[in-house]
Structure formats: structure tokens, C-alpha cells
């Protein structure tokens, strides 16, 4: 009985893996990876910001952006970061995207969150990976194209990028 159960659950697991592998090669796998590669590259944070935002000016958003992150991260592999923007979320004026960037990561750009006015509030949070002690930036793009940035330093005790 015990043996049977183990064997069954193992077969099921193997089956699921097979299906995932098959769909991966046929459909979504390749483009998904290509897109992720385009968003994040191994580069310096200056190059990353230049590539993504061109030379567009960024205003200091420290008053509007609440970047919440622990000042000391003991484990760089999982660091919770949240970003809240004190800005209206109406179809006329809303926060279009929120970027989280870690200056010293091998791949500085961590995520781009694209929001719609239906969110009601410009708030996102994610668990990220930090390679070493670094500045973390939240960059906010509003629907009129205005860019705002807020920055905080995080001390990392154990790096999370396989260093």
C-alpha cells in the first residue's frame, strides 16, 4: 500500500514535468526568456538606467514614494521590498509603472510592475535578491511620463546572488 502511494505520486510528478517541458519548447518558453533577458542584462546600474529610460530627467520622489525595506538584510536571497506612491490612480492621471533596481546586483533591474488605474492605489511589493550591500532604487513612471526616484541603502550580511 505504502509502496503504491509513493509510486503513484512519483508518476504524477513525472507526468506534470513532462507536460511542462513539452509546452515550454513548443510555445511560451523561448519568448518569455528573451523578454526577461531584454529587461535585465549584466551591466552597471548607470548603463541599465540609460538603456531603459534614455537620458530622461528623474525628479526626486522622496516625498511621494514610500520605499519600505529593512536597512539590514541578513539573507540577501530573500529581501522583501515594498513601494507605495502617494499619487492619484484615476484614468486621467495614474502611476503607469514602478521599477525596483538594486545598484550593485549583477543584473541591476529587478522588476517592472505595470499598473492600471483599477489598482486604486499605487502599491507593489516583491521579494528580491540582493548580491551585496547596495542602494535600492524605486523608479516611478506616471501616465504623463514624469519619472520619480527614491533610494535607500541596504546592508546585506550574506549575499544572495551565488557569490
Amino acid at each position: 500500500m505504502g509502496m503504491n502511494m509513493t509510486r503513484r505520486s512519483m508518476l504524477e510528478a513525472l507526468g506534470a514535468l513532462g507536460v511542462a517541458a513539452a509546452t515550454g519548447t513548443l510555445a511560451v518558453g523561448a519568448p518569455g526568456r528573451a523578454e526577461a533577458q531584454a529587461l535585465g542584462a549584466q551591466e552597471s546600474v548607470q548603463d541599465a538606467l540609460k538603456r531603459v529610460f534614455g537620458g530622461r530627467p528623474m525628479k526626486d520622489g522622496a516625498g511621494m514614494i514610500k520605499l519600505d525595506i529593512a536597512p539590514i538584510a541578513e539573507n540577501g536571497a530573500v529581501v522583501p521590498v515594498s513601494v507605495e506612491v502617494n499619487a492619484p490612480m484615476t484614468p486621467a492621471s495614474y502611476v503607469k509603472s514602478i521599477w525596483i533596481v538594486a545598484d550593485k546586483n549583477r543584473i541591476p533591474i529587478i522588476t517592472r510592475a505595470t499598473l492600471t488605474p483599477d489598482a486604486g492605489q499605487a502599491f507593489v511589493a516583491a521579494n528580491v535578491r540582493l548580491g551585496e550591500t547596495t542602494d535600492v532604487r524605486a523608479i516611478v513612471e506616471q501616465s504623463d511620463g514624469t519619472l520619480l526616484v527614491a533610494k535607500r541603502e541596504v546592508k546585506v550580511t550574506v549575499g544572495g546572488c551565488g557569490g
Binding site: 518569455g32 526577461a36 529587461l39 543584473i107 529587478i110 483599477d118 516583491a126
Partner: protein
Amino acid sequence: MASDIGKIRIRVPQNVKAGDVVRVRCLVIHPMERIERDPQGKVIDKNYNYITRVTATYLGKPVVTFDLTQSVSENPAFSFALKATAPGRVTVTFVDTHGGKYEGSADITFA
């Protein structure tokens, strides 16, 4: 455990009133391989498997999309806000770089 990959937990608040802006938290079990280096210390290029896109919809309309790079953590968790206009379903879809697609949902009910 391979069979745990793609397990999703979504938390929506209780006692929601119409028009409230609520925060939804979601998590997917998705381990990430460690970066490996050769004896010279150079990073060995591998086809890492990580979550690259997270899409959240509420009442069938998109609320937020996260596009992610390799700097995302393993078993990533995300939070976002949405304006609860009617009782309905929040669906979150996770896609990884190897074509895995995982979907979870939770219902928003009014008190």
C-alpha cells in the same frame, strides 16, 4: 520537491466593503538554481529557470503585471492593491523562463 513547484498561495482580506482599496498577497513555490562559477571565478552561463512574468486580474481585467529578471528571489512573493468594486475573483498567473505556467485564484467577498 519537484511536485511542489507551482503551488500558489493567495491572500485577500476579509470584511471588504464596496469601494475599498485592498491589498492582495500572493506567493508561488518556485526554487531557483544557484549561480555556478568555474575555477577562474567566471559565471557559468546556464538557462536559469525563474519566474519572469506575473499577471494579476480582477473581474477579468488586468490590475498589475510584474516583469522580472534573474534578480527575483526564489519562491517569490508579490503584493499589489486593487479597488474592490464588486465581489469577484482575483486570478494570478505566474510564467517562468522554461514555459511553466501556474495559475491561482481567490475570491473577494463583501461583508
